[in-house]
Assembly symmetry: C2
Homo-oligomer: 275 residues x 2
């Protein structure tokens, strides 16, 4: 893989758009999230509004469920007198679990098969499932994907609670919850958090929670303080070479070639942007 | 799932055999590993010998690679004058990457399909792949599986370095390395360790390593100090009900039914043994 990336051209990469990027600021560092407005336009817009209105600042990571997710939210969300007030952002939204197929939405199919979806592939740098029969496509719950937590009703989420997949990809959640982005840098700041010992991995004591210093849309952060990143474009020969190198590993260490690669095992390379 | 398990009978469970169980003792607690002698008899025997000869005591977890593995080993393995001496255990063994199909080895097929293997299923409480054409079966790299690290030659491992899968299941490793067991309790003591910042997730400073207090075969630990556990037998109606409840989730929260379950998303329940 390093050889393939070293041979890539500048055109193989695209700059992460600051208007489409969130920074989750923790004491341990910055988590960078690329948003997916093609799949969850209302949720993305709402989360950006929440970030602009500093909704998340001082809230906390309240849950770390082993082999599943971490989640951040208002710890006082259920206590009306203490709960963080919304300004113009919405508390809940209609679900955006899937969307219609649309030729304008980039899709690069992965022909290797899948247990959960009739077809899988990539749209920009997001793993997606598709069903030509129903005419729908949706983001897939791979490691690092970011979603909007909700209660039982489909329309009870809106982005005030966000989760990130930190374990084996829980693909049974696909089409059940609105995914809206992917962590492109800083996963280890979330995945290595101590696991909560309460039900569903909730932290049982307030002092176990991990404080959120701030969450910001990158475009609102002074340019000098941003984390400029580039993502390998998936509609390139370089990406196809990388897929092939994952199906059939030529490193000396490998003695058996799988011949296939599963959607959530495909690397989606990210690098610091050229200056 | 809790309802299905609550309705299970005592016969649906089997006691973890202390002779077939390893305890990895860390300052943070005990990790319990069930060994898989049906698949890696020589490696299992060698690791038990290493444990009996206290080979691992005072060694360390040297690597935590995000979305991949943790690994423990002798940090001085490459320095002949400092390296831990072997007694009767072997340093290396011929590979046990796969084994022949054998009617005596229990197998419960999972008919839901798989990207990597012609057939998948469970053998005792281990996820396995099978290929009727080649007449082989092998353990699958799901979350929590334990393997014997090796260098490039296939016969360069033997159990003196062990790794545990802590991320999305790296199934491309199947048939490339000897798996020999599965963590059945204490995964969170491994999965939440800080990620190493060196190449491949190695800890760069000795003080970042996590000391191993001891590794023991459970049968050599006084009975009162053991962790008695039971595992749900996979050749039961209860396990089939559990599979069906995972394919089609009846909890109120789910609005879309996947209809399938992928091998590494199947829970393999473990509970404290009845007294």
């Amino acid at each position: 893989m390093p050889d393939i990336l070293a041979a890539s051209t500048a055109d193989d990469w695209r700059l992460l758009d600051p208007e489409n990027t969130l920074y989750l600021e923790l004491a341990s560092g910055r988590v960078v999230i690329e948003l997916a407005p093609d799949f969850a336009p209302a949720h993305v817009a709402n989360v950006k509004t929440l970030a602009r209105e500093h909704y998340f600042d001082g809230l906390a990571i309240v849950r770390s469920h082993d082999n599943y997710v971490v989640q951040w939210a208002d710890p006082n969300a259920e206590k009306p007198e203490l709960a963080r007030k919304l300004q113009t952002a919405k508390k809940t939204l209609p679900p955006e679990f899937e969307r219609s197929l649309d030729a304008k939405v980039l899709f690069t199919r992965l022909p290797d098969g899948d247990v959960y979806a009739p077809e899988v592939g990539f749209s920009a740098n997001f793993p997606v499932g598709r069903d030509p029969k129903s005419g729908k496509m949706w983001l897939a719950h791979c490691y690092g994907m970011v979603g909007a937590g909700r209660d039982a009703p489909a329309d009870s989420g809106g982005g005030t609670e966000l989760y990130v997949v930190t374990g084996h990809s829980p693909r049974h959640l696909d089409r059940n919850v609105t995914l809206l982005g992917r962590v492109v840098k800083g996963m280890e700041l979330l995945s290595a958090l101590p696991r909560g010992t309460g039900a569903l991995g909730f932290y049982e004591k307030p002092e176990q929670r991990v404080a959120i210093k701030a969450m910001r849309v990158a475009s609102e952060v002074p340019a000098a303080e941003r984390t400029p990143l580039e993502l390998l474009r998936i509609d390139t020969q370089t990406f196809q070479k990388l897929l092939e190198a994952r199906r059939n590993r030529h490193e000396e260490w490998f003695h058996f070639q799988a011949g296939k690669v599963e959607i959530c095992n495909v690397p989606l390379p990210v690098r610091p942007a050229a200056k």
